[in-house]
């Protein structure tokens, strides 16, 4: 089983902003169906790492191989890879001038030339799954933050991605909205979606994660199963981080 090709391979990935090194020698494998949760202090490079995976940031060293295809400079290659990777942002980033339904159908219709009727059906199917189908004809600004984030998840799912990236999907939400979004994510995880999720929701991490990744100062400090990471963190930095983050919960 372990011989299955990884969905995502990162080999010695490095990234600099000017002279500032935001990522250094990142090595990571994500198996198909694996649920990986990434945590670490603010500014440790978590966002930068997952943004490199779909080329919202360009890595300057190492290799990123997604589903057997290496990420290169070529525009077509980048577009192909982005179509295989769904991304959910902290601030949703829905398209405000389009209805919820059009937000969802845009990608499939433009990228794969899916006929409108079929795209709508797919969209409604995923809206159903994030329990928001009745809002299909509304505009994003008419929805609550939690609803918008679920629409954003559905928008990513409509592209039938092989890997879903989440960048702190619940950090911008009011507390009462968080559980609705987490429920959707747990459900997605239970259906075997390959996921890489930056979050500080440690309850969620314990529930769904196969692997915990702890980052600090642009490096991966610890990788391991959640029981090990939470029960017996090896590095001092992880211990400190966990004590800080868990003391609030």
């Amino acid at each position: 089983m372990t011989q299955a090709n990884p969905m995502l391979e990162m080999r010695g990935v490095g990234k600099w902003f000017g002279n500032f090194c935001a990522l250094y020698d990142i090595n990571l494998d994500v198996r198909p169906g694996e649920r990986m949760v990434v945590c670490g202090p603010s500014g440790s490079g978590k966002s930068t790492m997952i943004r490199c995976i779909n080329r919202l940031e360009e890595h300057q060293a190492g290799q990123i191989v997604l589903d057997g295809v290496e990420l290169t400079e070529d525009t077509k290659n980048i577009e192909q890879i982005r179509r295989k990777v769904g991304m959910v942002f902290q601030h949703f980033n829905l398209f405000p001038h389009l209805t919820v339904l059009r937000n969802l159908t845009l990608g499939p219709m433009r990228n794969f030339k899916v006929p409108e009727k079929e795209a709508r059906e797919t969209a409604l199917h995923y809206l159903e799954r994030v329990r928001i189908a009745e809002q299909a004809s509304k505009y994003p600004s008419e929805l609550s933050g939690g609803q918008q984030q679920r629409v954003a998840i559905a928008r990513a799912l409509c592209m039938k991605p092989k890997l879903m990236l989440f960048d702190e999907p619940t950090s911008a939400l009011d507390p009462e909205m968080i559980s609705g979004v987490l429920d959707v994510m747990v459900e997605l995880a239970s259906e075997g979606m390959t996921m890489m999720c930056v979050t500080h929701e440690m309850g969620f991490a314990k529930e769904v994660a196969d692997t915990m990744v702890f980052m600090d100062e642009g490096e991966i400090v610890e990788v391991g199963p959640p029981d090990e990471f939470f029960g017996n963190p090896k590095s001092d930095r992880a211990k400190l981080f966990l004590s800080q983050i868990l003391s609030h919960h």
């Binding site: 919202l56 991304m87 433009r110």
Partner: protein, 303 residues
């Protein structure tokens, strides 16, 4: 629930009133106007002769019917210039605005050069240089004159309706292109500002979905940017109507050009320019009101 009836009504709105200072300023301005009128009447002993000029607006033909005269023809040419000039300037502005925000250094430099060139040369100088280039080189190259000369009567009628007298077709086109090049630089900057005002998250979300560069712009960025830039674009259209006066210098027979001729032949300088000023004002103010209405209506809809 029951408290709703017991709650206080909203506080009475304060009326906006003119203060004493406002009234004083009004009085001063009025006094100034009266004084100037008095000077013109009694000191300059200027004999107003509105009829002389007004007959260049409308005149009676042999049958005694009122028909539009030179100044109205000039105004129509101005409006045609403004209409086509706006369309051409919008296209130039859109293309150059996209270049200005492109990731391609060469395109950015071309657009920058265009904008800086036009913004840093007096319009008159630009128009002189550019006009002689267009009318001397481009128009003959495109065979516009020949086309106009050989046009069938039907084609000619359509052209006359859209662009004015067919004999002046190439002249009109050259003037219109000059104007559009000139205004296009300002629209470029409006478009650039509009595109740059769209937050980074929109670009990222559109790219993350895997849209091609073209689709990112067409489906996500431009629709939002255009909504934002409609008000300044409307303002720029009105500016274009006024700026069109400048092409009188290259003998495009629009309102200002005609007015110069009328003023010279009648020697009624004051009257001519007051009439022309009123004509420009009415047109520009009309569009300003229409655009303000449209903008309000747009705001009522969804954002």
């Amino acid at each position: 629930m029951a408290t709703t009836t017991e709650r206080l009504p909203p506080p009475v709105k304060k009326r906006v009133k003119l203060t004493l200072i406002d009234l004083l300023i009004f009085a001063l301005v009025a006094a100034g106007v009266v004084y100037i009128a008095y000077r013109v009447e009694s000191v300059l002993v200027y004999k107003w002769s509105w009829d002389t000029v007004l007959q260049f607006v409308v005149r009676r033909d042999e049958a005694g019917d009122l028909v539009p005269n030179l100044l109205v023809t000039g105004l129509l040419t101005t409006l045609r210039l403004a209409f086509w000039g706006t369309i051409a300037a919008a296209i130039i502005g859109l293309v150059m605005g996209l270049c200005r925000t492109s990731s391609n250094l060469f395109l950015r430099m071309v657009a920058r050069l265009y904008v800086e060139l036009i913004r840093n040369i007096p319009p008159v100088v630009f128009i002189f240089v550019f006009y002689f280039f267009i009318s001397g080189q481009i128009m003959p190259l495109l065979g516009v004159d020949e086309f106009a000369r050989n046009a069938s009567p039907e084609t000619a009628r359509v052209i006359e309706f859209l662009f004015g007298p067919i004999g002046l077709f190439s002249n009109f086109l050259a003037g219109m292109i000059c104007l559009a090049m000139f205004e296009g630089a300002y629209i470029t900057e409006i478009v650039r500002a509009g595109i740059q005002s769209i937050e980074k998250g929109q670009w990222e979300a559109a790219r993350a979905v895997g849209l091609s560069r073209f689709n990112v712009l067409r489906d996500v960025i431009l629709p939002q940017a255009i909504r934002k830039i409609l008000p300044p674009l409307a303002g720029q259209f009105i500016t274009l109507v006024k700026d069109s006066a400048i092409v009188s210098l290259i003998s495009i027979q629009e309102l200002t050009f005609v007015a110069i001729e009328v003023a010279a032949s009648t020697t009624r300088v004051f009257e001519t320019w007051i009439v022309v000023g009123v004509m420009y004002f009415v047109v520009c103010y009309f569009f300003a009101v229409v655009f303000a209405r449209l903008e309000k209506r747009g705001q009522r809809g969804r954002r």
